[in-house]
Symmetry: C2
Subunit: 229 residues, 2 copies
Amino acid sequence: MVTTIGFDADDTLWHNENLFADVQVLFRQLLAQYHSAEWIDRKLLDVERRNLEYFGYGAKGFALSMIETAIELTEGRVTGAEIQRIVDAVKSLLKGPTNLLEGARETVSALTNSHRLLLITKGDLLEQEAKLVRSGLADLFHGVEIISEKNTDSYRRILAKHGVKAQEFLMVGNSVRSDILPVVELGGQAVHVPYHLTWAHEVVDSSSSAQSFATLARLGDLVAHVKNL
Amino acid sequence: MVTTIGFDADDTLWHNENLFADVQVLFRQLLAQYHSAEWIDRKLLDVERRNLEYFGYGAKGFALSMIETAIELTEGRVTGAEIQRIVDAVKSLLKGPTNLLEGARETVSALTNSHRLLLITKGDLLEQEAKLVRSGLADLFHGVEIISEKNTDSYRRILAKHGVKAQEFLMVGNSVRSDILPVVELGGQAVHVPYHLTWAHEVVDSSSSAQSFATLARLGDLVAHVKNL
């Protein structure tokens, strides 16, 4: 019996990837005189991946990776004013409102009395805390876990900490790689609710997964799914 | 009776501020043709303080603040190559070894069987986790709390989570502002072990504190202090 439900945050409960995508549009415009949009995107993703071990996830690392990419792609000719525009765009992103996905508040509210709800999100501590506060959902969760990477080890640690067996745990998220596969591997259940944008780093080859999890088109369908478990 | 001891990490158990200071030396050299060292330091601190609400603590925010400062102080003339040197220096800082302070390992080892030890550090999640792993001290702590800001609320939350009364808690750290005053305010005990460098943002006017805490010259003196409580 599922007693505990873990929710991913970014792009599961609230919009996030679209904010990064908007900044990336501005970044492309900045470098449009030097390179094609495709080439800029490809180089940026390369730099982001290379920098993950240094910077982890989040807007600050994104800013530094864009700056590095701009320097590389312009062979150092990018101007101070242009780099400042990148930093300013990321600051706006960091202070922007937390826009909930449709059905997020209703779904979490409907489950908070019948289940123990954990928010389990990877990323930058300060950023994730600030988004949770701005979301207005903080009081509906019984625990919040902000971790630097989502894998079987980190989920195992969280379950042990909260005294939950994997069979009693259901994870809900938009990333097959981060929210679904590690939990299924531990013997837990998982519900995939795809977001219309997926950061390229999070994309997995769908043929590689055993599909032993549910996929819902809308977060709003979760309550009915949980009732039928 | 003190059952639980909280340790700050940066500049209490391992060197940190000196790494930032080293990068700042390079930053000054980079801008030496434009401004005096004093003026550069003052502007950087202004920008860091202004950016705290966006970036929080840690090396990535430090990098972005240096970049902004360089752009401002050169009126945009700083080159891409120079900015890349700032980013590279911060990456080296992020990957550098965790150098323990003298007596750190012995002190933590001596107390881990008689007390519950918590590592309580503010800053960037990924950075602090990586430093703890590299320190080799992780197994000696019963709990690790990485938080975005240290104040009475965050200490109160941590004590509640671990079921510890303030009177049973002793906090050890190098920052009067972050490690000492909030804990004393809650009714806990605190031990100040000054580090030879203090980031200007952390400096408090010593006349404003009631001095209701102990100050030790060396972390190695802590075991004797705890025995005499």
